[in-house]
Amino acid sequence: MSPLRRRLLFGIPLALTVAGGEGFYILLKRMGNNTYDPHALPSPLIGKRPPAFNLPGINGSQGFANTDLLAPPKPMLVNWFASWCIPCQEEANILRKLSATGLQIWGIAYEDPPPNLAKYLAQNGNPYTRLATDASGLTAINWGVYGVPETYFIDKTGIVRARWAGALTDEILTTELTPLLAKYA
């Protein structure tokens, strides 16, 4: 091996390390301004419209379909929940607060028997503008729902812009939802 090639070979570890360190630096910067979240669960729906579905409401009342979500007048949320889910009950307060601000929240009850659902809404209040029930859970699979509660942000063109797996928190409202509402207003 020529001395030059030997020198270059011995410089490879340094070069790799510099590149890796640069990458980590950018990642940390992105974590700092919330454009990178290692814990984020990717949603296949982001940037797309929800897949076709037509779900009934509770006890034969009117539910809603994907066509109802094509062009909402204002950005809105679709919230997946269930009466048997403890975090959903904790989230109910935040949803009530949000719906009081005029934000439309449409709810889809996931694998929930109607009597339990009715009791749940009576106890925890009904923050939902419209309500549908996914008794079979098939629509949830098509949406890629990870578990309830789960909330989707849909803009005025009907495209899903964000998804939160797990209960919404006050922190998510201030750091993520409020900027999104401003951006897609």
């Binding site: 011995f10 570890p13 340094l14 510099v18 360190g21 974590m31 990178y36 290692p38 990717p42």
Partner: protein
């Protein structure tokens, strides 16, 4: 008052570490013997200062001084004493202080027991350690101060995370950190040697015990962590391929490679640059592991609430430490020429092969661990890399490693022939083949391969030993005499290989595990693994800072009860957290494992997870045997002769 003293001691330690770094590195250039010996004194006083600081934090935890934010947030008066102590390093700031404490302990040990080192080398080693220490102490002092005060103090602390209130986990971090940080000494030796531009057999002899000692601690630390996850998380597994586990495994892999190639430097003065690179890489991987855990950059079950600012600080530290050492390597290492030459089939080549496989595994694990964040960075996609990837890539690389590690120790140095060695391994080969055929007959090909591999490693190591004592060829008494005359280094190496083989046996056996999740009401039973598992009763039991529900389970075989298990669920009232304590019965070769997972509402019964895990205990026995092998090797006469001063006080030979 005590926390202020601790804080002051920490600040003092920064100053001492800076002085140690600067004086240690430049004194040899000035050829000033007094300055060179000052580095030792500074290292010892730095150790005392950090020790005082660490004791102050432990004291605050023990007396539950809630004016210290760290204590208020992560401890409480209600937890038992041992967890008030271990709670001090069960959180971000406290564990950084533990990290610095162990680093200074390493420096102090080199200063105290390194009398046989040339003065200039010792001074430079201490200088490097001082600089690293200064960086991390600054981190602890500025952005992660464990002594931050809180006023007004809360009446009661938040408490120790219930899942960490466990004896296995109380000692897992100190062991693991000693392993991680211990490699700083090998790193410092590598840097000092690069500065001096000289590496010889003596260097190999000095650096190896340090690498071996930290390797032992790292092995124990990983074993404890894996064992803890097995018996407390109640999922019946022992390894997640979680990023943080991988972060501990990576330095273990390169550290194991370092141990082996340092032998080549010591015996044959070859592979010098590669050994230096491994020493740098091992410590760098330890540092990177610390960074990954603390920056939150990876999605991991091991959460350390940390801010990106702290991540940036550590990244800067890493950049300086790793960057400058690799720059030094790029400039100085090309001149390190090997003096020993060896044939393609020889002990040296076998050790090179070992290094290739270990580093290949390390490279695969490294890539898999860091792929998700970098895929996001480069291609903008969010993905995760899980157990299937690691299992499918690591297993094929482990197979040749297992095959080769049996042959290597039997090969002579310089030049060897393969055929006679393979002939001597006929017994191990036969045992492995029988194991394979027996297990494969039951259609468990993966388990059969693994068990055969484990048997191959264990029996070949035993064959090596039997050959050396000429067992059955000379009278037994002569064999025993030959055995006691064997060098400890050789015994240690054999034990290390046997331990690895035993771990392989355990991991392979785990693939035969059977499990079942059942909901039982009292009086009913389930069948698993040939046993009848009956739930007798569910009852309450008191605990110090928790209440618990105990499920009373009886196992019977052919109608005869032979075992009672009492898996429990603990409710920690302070944190509203429930933990499961698995009931495990082991006979050394099989674990019977029951977890009380839940009491489903309305069912009036218990959800139980039942497992029968053959060979599971061998995973951790193997880890212990490996570490024991390391300790045996450390007690070798050659190393003791290398340090004449230790003859005067043998009790403190290895701190």
């Amino acid at each position: 008052m005590i926390p202020e003293l601790g804080h002051f001691a920490l600040a003092l330690a920064v100053a001492l570490a800076c002085a140690q770094g600067v004086i240690g590195l430049f004194a040899p250039t000035l050829r000033d013997p007094r300055a060179m010996s000052a580095a030792s004194a500074l290292a010892l006083s730095q150790f005392l200062a950090i020790g005082a600081s660490f004791l102050a934090l432990i004291y605050a935890g023990v007396v539950s001084d809630f004016t210290v934010e760290n204590v208020a947030d992560f401890s409480s008066a209600a937890v038992p004493l041992i967890y008030r102590i271990s709670g001090t390093w069960g959180n971000h700031d406290g564990s950084m202080l533990l990290w610095c404490f162990i680093l200074s302990l390493c420096g102090a040990t080199v200063a105290a027991f390194g009398q046989n080192l040339p003065a200039s080398l010792k001074s430079r080693v201490l200088g490097v350690l001082g600089l690293v220490s200064a960086g991390f102490l600054l981190f602890a002092l500025t952005v992660s101060d464990p002594f931050t005060r809180l006023w007004p103090p809360p009446l009661e602390g938040v408490g120790v995370n219930p899942i960490l209130q466990d004896p296995g986990l109380a000692f897992h971090p100190p062991m693991l950190y000693t392993g991680y940080v211990g490699f700083s000494v090998a790193f410092a030796f590598a840097i000092a040697a690069l500065i001096e531009g000289r590496i010889d057999a003596a260097w190999g002899r000095w650096v190896r015990p340090w690498a071996l000692l930290s390797w032992c601690f790292l092995t124990i630390g990983i074993t404890l962590g894996s064992w803890w996850s097995y018996y407390t998380l109640g999922w019946g597994g022992f390894w997640f391929w979680d990023p943080v586990e991988n972060a501990a495994l990576l330095p273990w892999l390169t550290g194991t490679a370092l141990l082996h190639c340092a032998i080549v430097v010591e015996k044959r003065e070859a592979l010098k640059a590669w050994t230096v690179l491994l020493a740098i890489a091992t410590f760098s991987l330890s540092l990177t592991g610390t960074f990954l855990v603390r920056s939150g950059i990876l999605n991991s079950v091991h959460s350390f609430a940390a801010s990106p600012d702290q991540g940036l600080f550590i990244l800067a530290l890493l950049a300086v430490t790793i960057g400058s050492s690799l720059l030094l390597f790029a400039i100085r290492a090309p001149v390190l020429a090997a003096t020993g030459i060896f044939a393609p089939i020889s002990r040296e080549s076998a050790l090179v092969l070992n290094n290739i496989f270990l580093c290949a595994i390390a490279a695969v694990v490294f890539t898999g661990t860091l792929y998700p964040p970098f895929a996001n960075l480069l291609f903008g996609i969010q993905l995760s890399v899980g157990a299937p990837f690691f299992n499918q890539t690591v297993l094929p690389l482990t197979t040749p490693l297992i095959l080769a590690m049996a042959v290597g120790p039997l090969l002579p140095w310089k030049r060897a022939a393969l055929a006679p060695v393979l002939q001597r391994l006929w017994l191990a080969g036969a045992v492995a083949l029988i194991v394979f055929l027996v297990v494969a007959a039951n259609r468990h090909i993966i388990a059969a391969l693994g068990l055969a591999g484990g048997a191959w490693v264990v029996f070949s190591a035993l064959t090596d030993l039997a050959e050396r004592v000429r067992l059955f060829r000379v009278p037994l008494g002569t064999s025993l005499a030959r055995f006691s005359a064997l060098s400890r280094a050789l015994l240690g190496a054999t034990l290390g290989h046997i331990g690895f083989g035993v771990t392989v046996l355990g991991i392979a056996g785990m693939t035969l595990a059977t499990q079942k999740v059942v909901v039982l009401t009292p009086g009913h039973s389930a069948q698993l693994g040939g046993y009848t598992w009956t739930l007798n009763d569910i009852h309450d039991a008191p605990g110090p800072n928790y209440t618990q529900r105990v499920a009373d389970v009886t196992l019977s075989e052919n109608g005869k009860p032979f075992l009672s298990l009492a898996p429990t669920r603990r409710f920690f009232t302070a944190q509203h957290v429930t933990t499961n304590v698995a009931a495990i019965h082991t006979n050394g070769f099989q674990d019977i494992y029951a977890v009380f997972a839940d009491e489903p509402a309305g069912s009036n019964g218990a959800e139980l997870r039942l497992n029968r895990q053959p060979m599971a205990p061998e995973i951790w026995f193997g880890g212990l045997i490996m570490a024991l092998g390391g300790v045996t090797s450390l007690s070798d006469r050659r190393l003791r002769v290398g340090a004449p001063s230790r003859k005067k006080k043998p009790a403190g030979a290895v701190a």
